[in-house]
């Protein structure tokens, strides 16, 4: 009994040390600052601010539009990344000639730094020199150039396109790895029971990779929600704030005034929302019902 209780912690110890050691202080510091009046430009006026930082955030007039943008941005991006990644993984599951080379190429978008992806897609979608406009014109699909980044509604989609492009390989690799880990016996057993391909997909494939799917979607949602880099690089939230999401808009605001108190409050607020989301998501997908061998 004693031994068994210790074992998992022995396995966990390195992760605990890393996480609590280096994330503990930043996290505590962030929560502390969220309730502090802490503006870099006023180093002599640091005091407990109660909920003032939070009030400042929630009273922004553009909040609702930007909240809507955020939801749109996260849902569409994660959905596209997941569906396309799943299709790619399923297609790659069975061997074919040159699969190694194909895979080496098709996963490449993952190996680009965010800023290069942002700049490239901004160029591709450029309203004057962009190849997309040029090709559409040449194919006679449009008669005049479209200002993708200059049109409200469209500009957010250029960012979604870039993020989706960069994110497909992540889902594909994770799902592919999960697919490959499914022991063959399970398929053989299903075959003996007389199941067809669809049955096998439903009763073997999906249940087996479900934990991976749940976790990748969960974490992607968190990352996409927090992702502001591409928006800064590509549209800077323009035109007229229509391509801002909560994290890009709020952090731009807090950072351009160097109000670290408000920036921290924002971080805490996001964490609160995301924890809620995680709890609900895990409950719905019944993720945490792990088996216990031993």
């Amino acid at each position: 009994m004693k031994k068994k209780n210790l074992e998992p912690h022995a396995f966990m110890l390195p992760s605990y040390i890393l996480l609590f050691g280096f994330m503990g202080y930043p996290l505590i510091n962030c929560i502390r600052l969220a309730f502090t009046n802490y503006k870099i430009m006023k180093p002599d006026e640091v005091y407990f601010a109660g909920l003032n930082n939070f009030k400042g955030i929630l009273s922004d007039p553009d909040l609702l539009m930007i909240l809507g943008n955020s939801v749109k941005f996260v849902v569409i991006t994660v959905f596209l990344q997941f569906v396309l990644g799943l299709i790619l993984a399923l297609t790659l599951k069975k061997p074919f000639r040159f699969r190694g080379v194909y895979q080496g190429i098709v996963f490449l978008p993952w190996a680009f730094s965010g800023f290069i992806i942002g700049l490239t897609f901004q160029w591709l979608f450029n309203g004057e020199y962009g190849p997309i406009n040029d090709l559409l014109l040449k194919a006679h699909l449009i008669t005049e150039k479209i200002s993708f980044t200059g049109t409200p509604g469209l500009s957010l989609f250029t960012v979604i396109a870039a993020l989706t492009w960069a994110g497909i390989p992540f889902f594909a690799i994770m799902i592919l790895a999960a697919l490959q880990s499914i022991p063959n016996e399970l398929y053989e057993a299903a075959k003996i029971d007389g199941g067809n391909a669809l049955d096998m997909f439903k009763h073997v494939t999906i249940p087996c990779i479900k934990p991976t799917i749940v976790i990748t979607i969960l974490l992607r949602t968190i990352w996409v929600f927090n992702n502001a880099d591409l928006i800064y690089v590509m549209t800077r939230g323009g035109p007229a704030n229509t391509s801002h999401t909560l994290s890009s808009y709020m952090f731009m605001k807090a950072y351009s005034t160097l109000d670290f108190g408000q920036a921290s409050a924002l971080g805490v607020l996001f964490m609160f929302v995301l924890v809620l989301y995680v709890l609900i998501f895990l409950k719905i997908t019944r993720f945490n019902e792990a088996g216990d061998v031993g």
Binding site: K2, N5, L6, H9, L13, Y16, I17, F20, G21, F22, G24, Y25, I28, N29, K39, I40, M41, K42, P43, F115, N126, G127, E128, Y129, K145, S147, T149, G150, P152, S155, T235, R236, G237, G238, P239, A240, N241, M252, K253, Y255, S256, T257, L258, D259, F260
Partner: protein
């Protein structure tokens, strides 16, 4: 059971321990980070006495290969001339420079000497991250060699009167000029000198535009900090004033609204590409160099970009256009060389700054970076009096040259220039709100924060234009 809680306890102790050391280090450092350079000099002599070489970090924030090479060369010379000091060059890309310096500043780990952008002045000075240089400057052998604009506007007005001291030494001026396509000007039957007034600019922009040939008159900047470009025209209509003596913003007047309208018409009437509503620096320059637009309002550094991609006889730089009163409402900014408050060797740091702004060294650096030197002597140097650079120099030396006011020194200025102003103007360009509403929102924003700031800081002058020549 016991062991389990023991392990948890260990993890917690580690976490709390780190949290504690982190906290105390922060407290200690901020106390150490004194504002006065003088108070530190004892420490630095200590370092010298021990016979040890003093190591200095110098950080540049707008790196490019030519610039890096020049700085490297100058630093190596400096190191050779000062055997007790070893300076190393560090660079951080412009896009990340501000965030990095803010992080380093909050952690009291700034490089000893760094290049500070004018927009960061109020942040870094108020945060007490940079050292006051007045005492050093007093003893500086070249203190009387600065050109009048640098000493009276950039150092005296912008620093001394505003912040009570000089916190950085300008290292090279950049001012605005109009980059124009000389061949297009000829085609529309105008003379280059017609484009030296705003009326001429508007006329030429309209005439040059021919969307069927993929030609637009003006490189409009609707994206990041585009409001500043618009402001340059608006000031020429408002005589260079932004606030009245009570801090009420003057933009929301019939003349102000009219100026806003005339400038934004460049976009609204299609004299600029549709995409330009979201253009920033790089895109507006690219618009001009690629032959999409005919007129570009930009600064000296852009000459290098045009040299690289355009045919020599198709473009030139004209002095910044005059307003209806005949004056040139423009600005000439510089980066500042500053010493970090957390530097352990401010005396040696000053030595480096002094070396870099020495007239001959400064001119050498400015030639590479395409800046106008801060020290006297450029007026006799053909590198500055001939070719594209001469347009800028003519602007700056014009008797009618007026330096436009800043928006203010309140903390919200960053938000105003980086996002608020542009998104308000974009709303108008998209037809989402009227010009009256737009100007009112902008004007109210400035009035609100300026008046609040004035109440708290009555000693700081109200932002206004400065005429010096």
């Amino acid at each position: 059971m016991k062991r389990k809680s023991f392990l948890i306890a260990v993890a917690l102790v580690v976490a709390v321990g780190l949290a504690f050391t982190g906290c105390s280090s922060k407290g200690g450092d901020s106390k150490k980070a004194g504002q006065e350079g003088a108070s530190k000099s004892t420490e630095s002599t200590g370092a010298k006495d021990s016979g040890k070489q003093v190591e200095l970090r110098f950080m540049d924030v707008i790196p490019n290969p030519d610039r890096d090479a020049k700085f490297q060369e100058v630093i190596e010379r400096f190191n050779k001339e000062n055997p007790g000091i070893k300076v190393t060059l560090e660079t951080v890309p412009w896009d990340q420079a501000h965030q990095k310096l803010v992080t380093l500043g909050s952690a009291s780990s700034m490089p000893d000497v760094f290049v500070m952008h004018q927009q960061w002045n109020s942040e870094f000075i108020n945060a007490k991250w940079v050292v006051k240089l007045d005492d050093y400057l007093e003893k500086f052998e070249h203190k009387d060699d600065f050109i009048p604009y640098v000493s009276s506007v950039l150092m005296d007005y912008d620093h001394k009167q505003t912040y009570g001291g000089i916190y950085g030494i300008p290292d090279g001026l950049t001012t605005h000029g109009m980059f124009v396509r000389t061949d297009w000007v000829k085609e529309i039957g105008m003379e280059l000198k017609d484009l030296e007034t705003w009326d001429g600019i508007f006329e030429a922009a309209a005439k040059m535009t021919d969307p069927s040939k993929n030609r637009y008159g003006f490189s409009y900047r609707g994206g990041r900090a585009g409001g500043e470009q618009l402001g340059m025209y608006v000031y020429s209509e408002l005589g260079g004033h932004l606030y009245d003596k009570d801090g009420n913003c003057l933009l929301n007047t019939p003349e102000g609204i009219e100026a806003f309208k005339r400038y934004t018409d460049l976009y609204k009437k299609g004299y600029a590409p549709k995409d330009s509503i979201n253009w920033g620096y790089a895109e507006m320059v690219q618009g001009f160099t690629s032959g999409l637009t005919g007129i570009l309002n930009q600064t000296t550094e852009v000459v290098a970009e045009c040299n690289k991609t355009m045919d020599k006889d198709t473009w030139t730089v004209l002095p910044f256009p005059r307003g209806k009163d005949g004056k040139i409402y423009s600005k000439a900014d510089s980066f500042y060389l500053s010493i970090a408050a957390n530097s352990k060797n401010p005396d040696e740091a000053w030595k480096l700054i002094g070396y870099m702004v020495k007239p001959e060294v400064n001119r050498e650096i400015c030639k590479v970076n395409l800046y106008i030197p801060v020290m006297k002597g450029a007026e006799n140097d053909p590198d500055f009096t001939e070719g594209p650079m001469s347009g800028f120099l003519r602007s700056m030396n014009d008797p009618g040259f007026v330096r436009n006011p800043y928006y203010g020194y309140f903390p919200e200025v960053g938000e105003f220039t980086e996002s608020f102003q542009d998104s308000e103007i974009q709303k108008y360009l998209l037809g989402k709100q009227s010009i009256e509403e737009t100007v009112k929102n902008i004007s109210d924003y400035l009035t609100k924060y300026q008046q609040k700031f004035m109440k708290e800081n009555p000693q700081v002058p109200i932002p206004d234009c400065v005429a010096i020549n």
